[in-house]
Amino acid sequence: MAAQKRLVSTAAKIASVSTAYLPRFPPREAIFKHSEIPKPPFAPETWASTRPPPPSALSAFAHRIGLASVLSTSDSVLRVCTHSSFPTLQQQFAPDERKVQTNAQLAPLGNALLGLFATEFIHTAYPHLPTRVLKAAVSAQVGTQTCAAVAQEMGAAPLLRWHRSDDVSHSDALASVPRAITALIYEKLSLLSARQFVHSYFLSREIDLRGMIKFRHPKIALLEMIKKLNREYPKSRLLKETGRYSNSPIFVVGIYSGADKLGEGFGSSLRMAEYRAAEDALHRVYLTRVPNHLMSLPTSTFPTGLGSVFKVKGKEKPHTPADLGMAEVEYGRSGRSSAGYTD
């Protein structure tokens, strides 16, 4: 069973070439010819990794992601799936062949677009989210690991052409593919089409936002927030308890500001329950989400029409910016910065 599993994963890693689309097979270099100048021996795996995937696979990929109109030719799909590390491999092992086009110019543009769309979406959806949590959420939604996962799920892994080195890992090479696709959609269609692509494939994915919000002193943070909002001083009250002198007590504590309950928490000690209640109160503020039908994204102002944002013709659409969320509470910062940590 384990041997079968190993065989399958090894087979997936070995490059396989479809001989139907090769001009000649076996290749000239594979046939041994005695020559005066000693040549390096023929390496079939390296030769296979330098061959382009068959056009049927490229066309199937374009149709699978619903972009057959944008990735209309095999060359555009090949360009998108070729990482910038590939020409070094080609130079070493197939220097006589025509230089391939890579996604080196498209990928950074696509990365910038991904960051733009993700940031505006998360900022509009969660207006009170602390800045570091916002940045962590954007990394989770459109970062390298997610881009690599999206590329894998699209089926780009067998089509990717790249070369492993110290700087370039498989994730880096895979991540360049959806970024290049986003940039190509922006170039061929419009910014709003690229935004639609990003919303469908990236922003529909799930992230654990609650797990990214970490507290050091939630009670003090809640106190500062209450002072800023001019509310009554917070008071924690024991709501329910059971098993106080047993080995598994449960206390339910609520934090009140006047008559309003801000948060509720449970715990096996009174202090633990109060801590959780303060955390709950802060979560209820930070994680307030604007429903999708009430969200107004800044990029909606661009007119619908083909072309880049500098060339598109049409009237700007109206946009009502949302009220600014509450600025974060900052206190007692020791200078250490860590992603997502908020006090």
Binding site: A12, A60, K214
Partner: protein, 136 residues
């Protein structure tokens, strides 16, 4: 928690749907009679199938002096093989559609498994401390 290691989790179908099948390979013999119906399928129905499913790469290979098979390759790097000898044209069509619709995951027996879910329960987990006291 390093920002470079943060990632999101897939939700295929929530907005866009990615079909899980990548490639369909038909292998049959040119001479033996066990491949007769499969050869007939390839001549009559295969082009229509390819036109209706542009997201699938379709390959036809020779499999000399063996039973005919159809093999589906999936995004999760698994493959499913179905032998086609002894099947009629309609049955072959049925098996091909089985492969097209499959996700490539292993078939799990559902008889003994309890409910598994990645999402939290909608109404929350019952708590005795938050429920009404029993009224006798």
């Amino acid at each position: 928690m390093l920002r470079g290691t943060l990632r999101s989790f897939p939700a295929n179908g929530h907005a866009a749907f990615l079909p899980q099948i990548r490639k369909l390979v038909f292998e049959c013999c040119d001479r033996w009679p066990s491949s007769e119906t499969t050869r007939n399928y390839l001549f009559t129905r295969l082009v229509g199938l390819a036109r209706d499913n542009p997201h699938v790469e379709i390959v036809v290979r020779q499999r000399v002096h063996r039973e005919p098979i159809v093999r589906g390759f999936y995004i999760n790097n698994r493959d499913k093989v179905i032998p086609l000898n002894g099947l009629s044209l309609a049955e072959i069509t049925q098996k091909v559609h089985l492969l097209l619709d499959s996700s490539g995951a292993k078939i799990k027996p559902l008889k003994r498994r309890t409910v598994e879910s990645n999402t939290e329960s909608v109404r929350g987990i019952w708590s005795g401390l938050h429920a009404d006291r029993p009224d006798l």
